[in-house]
Amino acid sequence: MNRILGALGRAPAWGPPLVVLVAMLVAIEVMRPGSLSMSRLQIEASEAMTLIFIAAGQTIVVLRGGIDLSVGGTLSLATAIAATRTETATFAELLPWLVVILVIGVLIGVINGALVSGLQLQPFVLTLATWSIVSGIALVILPINQSSVPPAWFEAGNATVLDLVPVPILLLLLLLGWWAWFRRTRGAFRIRAAGSDERGAFLNRVSLTRTNLAAYAMSGFFAALAGLFFASQTGSGSPVVGTQFVLPSIAAVVIGGTSLAGGRGGILGTVIGALILNQIADVIFLVGLSSYWQQVASGLILVGVVLLAPLLAVAAERTRRTMPGPA
């Protein structure tokens, strides 16, 4: 037992959440045989992708040692623009809007990053303010709660590329591929360094301003992308939908093993964390509990993960001492 715990503690940050996710998937398969089919997994992935994208951006800001609450506003704004500015467009006509929306997301992020660095504001309060502002803009653009987006958008989000890979799965693979590349770059290293120790990073000539700008810009980009994906999946835009993704985006990051103190963790863990949050509903349903238990379960898992992390670290330390040589 100790040895297993030790191995988990030494594993990368995404190790323990992966074990939890696999256990959940096995449990679901046992309770409802056939759940692990490709088509089922595809549905699960497309359900989770909005959260995965918004939480991926959140991860980078958290790695930088910050937090971004404004992602909720950016997501809403992206769906609001998608729903109001592109009424009967074909897919080719939609492409420029896609770029515009993503650029707006990046701009919001750059403003956040500039204010955090330039005025040395606390990220929590600053992004609380920009969350409010951007949500307000979304409400002004799209005052009604729900509005449909062009059918072409919906079709694009549910298409199958080359009759082989559905768009949500393709996007997930692209995200993981991008992360596999980005995490080894100098930029990612600097963001991590600045996140784990600002002073040390600064003394080693890592620009605190540029890492902030980059982290928040990526967060804004991913939030806008999440909004576009949400609109393409549901075929609708909503000026308030982002709010319900803010706290789950932080939860997915934490469950995925990324430390809120900055520097440690990554997007692979966050993807697993988001999938765990998404699977909870399924497990609760299969166990036969009311769907409201989903919230209780996600709250308990969230605290459990944070409580467990130090225990795993201790177990890792202990087994390292008892097992000589490279493990």
């Binding site: 937090i67 809120l260 103190a261 009311s290 709250g299 969230l302």
Partner: protein, 332 residues
């Protein structure tokens, strides 16, 4: 008076928020004559009281260097528990209200123990608590609204003692109590010490864990009280009634000049923050604006306040002001 000012760690931001409130109120009153009408001002104060009471605990938690994201559903649990237990009767309130306040304290203590002893980051701990409470409340009520609020609770929220609304009396008593605690008790000194530097506080013999747990307990009780009073105001409880308070409780503290890093601020500033938020909301019907604009205005106001208090801005201001002090003029 000067001693009180000296005791405030940063009188600047708090004075600034009251100045902002006065200017704001003056401008609106001039352009819209009915705004400064005593009846309207009373209404504004009553509405501000709910934010003010919910933000009381948030202030203490933030001064202590934490944050409480569980305010919305702690408030909502208290509100639903009141109507569910009392079933419209006034008699049982004698034990129900203390029970609910104790429940709020218990929620806060669990938060505090998780944060101070098990080292869970405040954001994670209180966020989880909020989610769990929301789930529990949905399970317990199955989404059905419980019976109406007892009349005496309605009186607490909307009644009057002579010309003064009862809720303002409650708010005033709470304000005096918390200002006394902040400034005159050892807990108050511990609070600022813990918020300023946990490590230094520990080595100075401050009971850090106990102080932290107490801040969250106060926040739980304050949220529960706000829930009870909100029941009286709305004459019912419903699911989701606490949701706006996540934003407003933190916004009131931030506008009131407390640093989210802890160690500074006072409930006096939070009162100004709650009043500013309420006055701004009262501006909307006058200008006939949608709620989206209120959201934008709230964001801008928070941004401007924290930007004014930011170290970078303060340095800039200090440099500008330094050129024009009487001393420097005399030197010339």
């Amino acid at each position: 008076m000067s001693r009180i000012v000296a005791r405030l760690r940063s009188p600047g931001p708090i004075l600034l928020s009251y100045l902002g409130l006065l200017v704001l109120f003056g401008l609106i009153s001039v352009s819209s004559p009915g705004f400064a009408d005593p009846n309207h001002v009373t209404t504004l104060l009553i509405v501000a009281a709910f934010t003010g009471i919910a933000a009381l605990g948030q202030t203490v938690v933030i001064i202590g260097g934490g944050i409480d994201l569980s305010v919305p559903w702690t408030l909502n649990c208290a509100a639903v528990l009141l109507t569910a237990l009392a079933r419209g009767q006034d008699g049982p309130l004698i034990w129900i209200i203390p029970l609910i306040l104790a429940g709020g304290v218990l929620i806060g203590v669990i938060n505090g123990v998780g944060i101070a002893i098990f080292r869970v980051p405040p954001i994670v701990m209180t966020l989880s608590m909020n989610i769990v409470l929301q789930g529990v409340l949905f399970i317990a009520t199955s989404g059905f609204p419980p019976p109406p609020t007892p009349e005496s609770v309605v009186w607490l929220a909307t009644g009057r003692l002579g010309p003064v609304p009862v809720i303002l009396v409650i708010w005033a008593i709470l304000t005096i109590a918390i200002l006394f605690v902040e400034r005159r008790t050892s807990f108050g000194r511990y609070l600022y010490a813990v918020g300023t530097n946990r490590m230094v506080a520990t080595f100075s013999g401050v009971p850090v864990a106990r102080t932290t747990i107490a801040t969250y307990a106060i926040s739980g009780a304050a949220a529960a009280l706000a829930g009870i009073l909100l029941d009286g105001y709305a004459r019912q409880s419903y699911l989701g009634m606490g949701d706006p308070f996540l934003f407003t409780s933190i916004a009131a503290v931030a506008i009131g000049g407390a640093s989210i890093l802890g160690g500074t601020g006072s409930y006096l500033g939070t009162i100004a923050g709650a009043l500013i938020l309420t006055v701004l909301a009262g501006l909307l019907p006058i200008l006939q604006l949608d709620s989206g604009y209120l959201s934008i205005i709230y964001g801008v106001v928070i941004l401007v306040t924290v930007a004014m208090a930011a170290p970078a801005t303060q340095r800039l201001l200090a440099r500008v002001l330094a050129r024009r002090t009487p001393a420097s003029l005399l030197a010339e």
